[in-house]
Symmetry: C2
DNA sequence: TCCAACTATCATGTATTACAAGGTACATGG
DNA sequence: CCATGTACCTTGTAATACATGATAGTTGGA
């Protein structure tokens, strides 16, 4: 299972999806599902965390096909956070990839 | 804190480091510390997991400067696992980056 | 009418795992 | 003889992804 890989990236992915337009939890699951596996049991607690951090705010919109939809929209702080997370993400990917090159390179033998 | 980002990648990083040469936990911490933050409290439980999965095997080597060192070496299965993890890692990075591109058009309209 | 299916919300419990904090043991130099 | 550095290990905690299932409104069919 690569569920562990997702830890810490789902927040960022959700924020990124919201940066492309307001959405609600149920729809976010299907949007993200186009690229990765996510479930509702993950999304709802996650959205509450994002709201608790004030990275998103909500408004209700009535739906003709079921209960009202709770739309989420990025706050200014959320946008800042997204930028920060993306930067950390790229640094992290760089770090990991540099470690992976140990396996390919085989000849490091430096300061030990 | 980006400790969550590491979930699921540390195993791979350790296997990659071992692919470059046998090592022991204490040394692995300092090797990986060159690229990322890791602590002993993380490493020792992790090594036991890797051994429980039979991805590494161990042998003792006496040291002139302290207790015997428990060296870890990759098993054939460990090498297979490393290759698999690297593949999953790259797919995962691709997935996440494709989600991040959802935001590309909007959030960073100006200061990119 | 009643029941199933679909949309949409949320809560509870479990597993994984990174890490801090603490403990053991051995060697060497002040 | 004690501090320091090497090297091992355990326990407890926090974060979080997810399975499962509850709640509720709408629509359409038997």
């Amino acid at each position: 299972m690569k569920t562990q890989l997702k830890k810490g990236t789902l927040d960022m992915c959700v924020l990124a999806a919201l940066a492309a337009g307001d959405s609600y939890a149920y729809e976010l699951v299907s949007i993200l599902s186009r690229s990765m596996e996510v479930s509702e049991g993950t999304m709802y607690p996650l959205m509450r965390r994002l709201q608790a951090e004030a990275w998103v705010s909500t408004y209700l919109v009535e739906s003709a096909s079921g209960p009202s939809r709770k739309y989420y929209t990025l706050t200014a702080e959320g946008r800042r956070q997204l930028a920060l997370m993306q930067q950390e993400w790229q640094e992290f990917v760089g770090d990991v990839n540099s470690v992976l090159q140990l396996a390919a390179g085989r000849a490091t033998g430096e300061t030990a």
